[in-house]
């Protein structure tokens, strides 16, 4: 792709999500789509993190844990320290990133399904911790969290007070979409930088990468902490929409869904998780008129999609440009751990 085409694509996408979608919603009066699309944007940020761990060859089923931690950090800072939500957002992300360094150091040595299982257990551990700790208010959760307040710098309003806005749904939508765009810009940048190449080398063969002088421990931790940062900010944002958080706000099902989003979109494509989230989440909502057959139709479509496009939705593009080598690792890599 030439630079011009790239810019055009980005421009079109920005126009689509920031102008066209709000306009369409305005015209059609389907206000409920704001929340659905806001969710998609936020969940796809968390999925982007999972995708990045896939990129270093790890199956991550633990993103729900960081989303929950991020949510609690933000909720506690807002309700108990009276902080501005917008300031708690990066703090929630950073807290998750730090936590993930501690957890990642031992567990990132694992591979394949072993790593996957440990992260799955991690989600449950975090849920139970949230139930047991006094600061999280245990089973009763934290409720009545205020809406995001004004953020100003030297008297200049950067972000208005959501409580006084005429249309907070639009505000939440725009905030979420902008965050999503920034996250994917970061992801895109990482993948196409030297760091991205190194990560790919990790995905294919860690021993080889280590033998040519790549600091694999550092690289793995870095990727994992960026991933967890994404999970944290997504969780924190969600909490401020629902204005409440419970230990069950993010659980194993969410962790599994984040992973499925990546598969559905395609592991080889940066924008895969975004598309995967849109389809998995929005698809369920759209099928709601089918009543008791909703789950049956939903799952049948999922299986069918998998049969037609086993490498994810974005592999559609691949078949057009079959000559061009795929971005993903072309050779299969055993999922079982090898010492």
């Amino acid at each position: 792709m030439t630079l011009f085409k790239k810019l055009l694509g980005v421009g079109l996408f920005l126009a689509l999500v920031l102008v066209l979608v709000p306009w369409l919603i305005e015209r059609s009066g389907r206000w409920d789509f704001y929340y659905t699309l806001t969710s998609v944007a936020l969940l796809s940020i968390a999925s982007a993190g999972v995708w990045l761990t896939f990129y270093i060859g790890r199956i991550n089923i633990g993103q729900g844990a960081y989303a929950l931690v991020g949510g609690y950090v933000s909720a506690i800072l807002v309700t108990q320290a009276g902080m501005n939500f917008w300031l708690t957002l990066p703090l929630a992300g950073l807290f998750c990133a730090l936590l993930s360094v501690l957890i990642g150091l031992p567990i990132l040595r694992l591979r394949g399904v072993y790593f996957a299982m440990v992260t799955l257990v991690l989600t449950e551990v975090v849920r139970l911790t949230a139930l047991a700790l006094p600061i999280t208010n245990g089973a009763r959760g934290i409720v009545n969290i205020p809406l995001p307040t004004e953020l100003s710098l030297f008297g200049l309003t950067l972000i208005p007070d959501f409580g006084t806005l005429a249309n907070p749904k639009l505000a939440f939508y725009l905030a979420a979409v902008i965050m999503m765009i920034l996250s994917y810009a970061v992801l895109y940048r990482i993948v196409h930088s030297r760091l991205g190449h190194l990560c790919r080398s990790l995905q294919q063969n860690e021993e080889l990468a280590a033998s040519i002088g790549v600091n694999i421990t550092y690289l793995r931790i870095l990727a994992y902490s960026i991933s967890s940062f994404f999970g944290g900010i997504a969780g924190a944002s969600f909490v401020n929409i629902s204005q409440s958080i419970y230990p069950s706000s993010f659980q194993v099902v969410d962790s599994v869904n984040f992973m499925l989003n990546c598969f559905l979109g395609g592991l080889g494509y940066v924008f895969g998780p975004m598309l995967g989230t849109l389809l998995l989440y929005f698809g369920w909502d759209l099928l709601f008129t089918t009543g008791k057959y909703q789950l049956l139709i939903y799952s049948s479509l999922l299986i069918l999609l998998m049969l037609v496009l086993p490498n994810g939705l974005l592999s559609l593009r691949l078949s057009r440009k079959a000559k061009q080598p795929a971005q993903a690792s072309p050779d299969k890599q055993p999922s079982g751990a090898t010492p």
Binding site: V118, V125, L128, K292, L295, P310, S329, K332
Partner: protein, 289 residues
Amino acid sequence: MEQIIANGLYLGAQYALIALGLTLIFSLMNVLNFAHGQMYVLGGFITYTVVAQLGLPFLLGILVSGLLLALMGAGVEKYLFRPVVARSVREESTMLLAAGIAFFLDAVILLLFGEKQRGIPKIVDGVFNWDFRIIMPYDRIVVGLLALAAVAAFILYMRYSRTGRAMRALAQDRTAAQLMGVDVNRYSMFGFALGAMLAGVAGGLLVSITGVNLGMGGPTSIKAFMMIMIGGAGVISGAIAGGFILGMMESVGLTVLAAYGDVTYLIIFASLMVFLAFRPQGLMGKPWG
């Protein structure tokens, strides 16, 4: 103390049976079958239908569960997993397929069998009571023994039958097995059917004790994952060991940590994470059987 061990053994026997099928499928095809728990639930509902609705004997119910699940497993492998595995760039992608099948089975179970908890009458009445040191209802003892018998039969089958040997060869090295003339497709399908059958038999057995409901699928899968991780994924003896260890951990943990109440499971799960972090391949070392 005797009671705690007895509880742990019973739990372990039932867990081991659940984990076996999962580990078999994983060792043969590198597929982590997210739908394993749903297959277990389906087996339970089939036995329920045969025993409670049609009024037929319990053992026949288990037989029907096993057979139907085996058929389903074979179909799932042949028409779903095989084409996807053949065409996917990264084989982890089968996880999405497995999850899709899990959702699908959940939906089918809800439509066919309803939302209620189901159970069948006790197969044997009475409670074994050894001086209040071990209290164990007879039906639990029977089911525990049946589970152990099924596990033993499976091990013998894998060890001594031609099919079993072929499957073990496949698990060790797919390519080499193929070169040696093992019909990979046929035995993959057979292995998947056997794995699904084990899930069905476990479901059928346990419906007489714990009953069955449509929500048990997901959590059962996750528990089974933990067991095979403790023992070492894809190792048959590992899955059995993992089942018994998790059973004991729960039994002992719940008693010892009862005073701390709410944190019992937190400690069990956290120690599991620590164990896996320091013993990445579980107990049994090599990731194949």
